[in-house]
């Protein structure tokens, strides 16, 4: 199935540098409609007010973590099926298990490369 690369993608990270890196990597694989949020609360607000085909979020943010954002998204009737990729330095088993239990679509551990990002995006969007 062809992937609609014109979809809106929301990237969430409290490090501006990471937002910039992910935005540029997405641009290189032709995702040009990318919006940013610096924590879970801001992301949730944007998600509820917009239309996004993919969420890519960090875990370690305050006041609302990426895991809490994921839980909120999955509990929201309108957002619950939106593909959600967690990109985080949290690589312990307990983190992956918690994210999976909360309904994460895929999980990328930092530091990551462009190929991994592309591969995971294609996989989650193919199943969306």
């Amino acid at each position: 199935m062809a992937i609609d690369k014109s979809m809106n993608v929301l990237i969430v990270d409290d490090y501006k540098t990471m937002l910039r890196i992910i935005r540029n990597l997405l641009k290189q694989i032709d995702f040009n409609n990318v919006e940013e949020a610096s924590d879970g609360s801001e992301a949730l607000s944007k998600l509820r007010g917009g239309n996004y085909g993919l969420i890519i979020s960090d875990w370690n943010m305050a006041p609302m973590t990426g895991l809490q954002l994921l839980q909120e998204v999955r509990a929201d009737h309108r957002l619950k099926t939106t593909p959600f990729i967690m990109i985080t330095a949290e690589s312990k088993t307990e983190n992956v298990v918690a994210a999976k239990a909360a309904g994460v679509s895929n999980y990328i551990v930092k530091p990551f490369n462009a190929e991994t990002l592309k591969d995971k995006i294609e996989k989650v969007l193919a199943h969306a």
Partner: protein
């Protein structure tokens, strides 16, 4: 007043412990030397009635008093106020500066990289592909700033925990700053799982994560 039984005798180890606990309750800020003095007075008063076990316990208590006095002296010699007032804030400021400088440098690199991407878009064929491959690698490498930032945050958190423990020790042994309270509070939902980046030897790599996810 000490809670001495009516017959004036200590019935055993428990009675002695009770006396010491009673002193501590009545005088929470009591000096170790004073406790030793009181114990010695009690010992003198009741020495004829003490069993060998009780006498041994009293000797231990006296020794404990001396150890506490010695520990206080050692802590005073460490100049822990300097650690809290200067050393730890200095270290955390330095680490914050590292994060700030690396962020600044990374942004400069990214800006140049974005310009190269713009140039790449005007090209075609192999030169365009090679240029984009190079910028991709630079973007990937620049994520070091996020990882090092998180590692430094962990170090700062550790330093702050040490600071709190020092405050606690001083509060216990040095009444002058006993009013300083630890400020570490409960963690929020999701934050309790935050461990930050793992050292390479201990970390799961992407293939481990993929296997784990596939197990569900």
């Amino acid at each position: 007043m000490l809670d001495v039984p009516e017959d004036g005798r200590l019935s055993g180890l428990d009675a002695l412990k009770q006396k010491l606990a009673s002193i501590r309750e009545q005088q929470p800020g009591i000096e170790a030397g004073l406790v030793t003095e009181v114990v010695r007075a009690v010992l003198t008063t009741i020495s004829d009635d003490l069993t060998a076990k009780e006498a041994a316990l009293l000797r231990e208590v006296e020794e404990l008093g001396r150890t506490i006095a010695s520990a206080k002296s050692d802590i005073a010699a460490l100049r822990v106020d300097d650690i809290n007032d200067h050393d730890i804030p200095f270290a955390t400021d330095e680490l914050d500066a590292i994060v700030e400088h690396t962020a600044h440098a990374t942004n400069a690199i990214l800006e140049s990289c974005e310009m190269l991407d713009e140039v790449s878009a005007t090209l075609s064929g192999d030169p365009a592909a090679r240029l984009q491959a190079a910028t991709t690698k630079i973007y990937e490498a620049c994520s070091f700033q996020d990882i090092t930032g998180q590692r430094i945050t962990k170090v700062v958190t550790t330093l702050k925990a040490i600071e709190q423990k020092v405050v606690h020790i001083i509060g216990t042994f040095g009444p002058s700053i006993g009013s300083m309270k630890p400020t570490i509070g409960p963690v929020a939902n999701g934050a309790d799982l935050l461990n930050g980046p793992q050292l390479p030897a201990q970390a799961m790599d992407q293939s481990d994560i993929d296997k784990l996810l596939a197990d569900f």
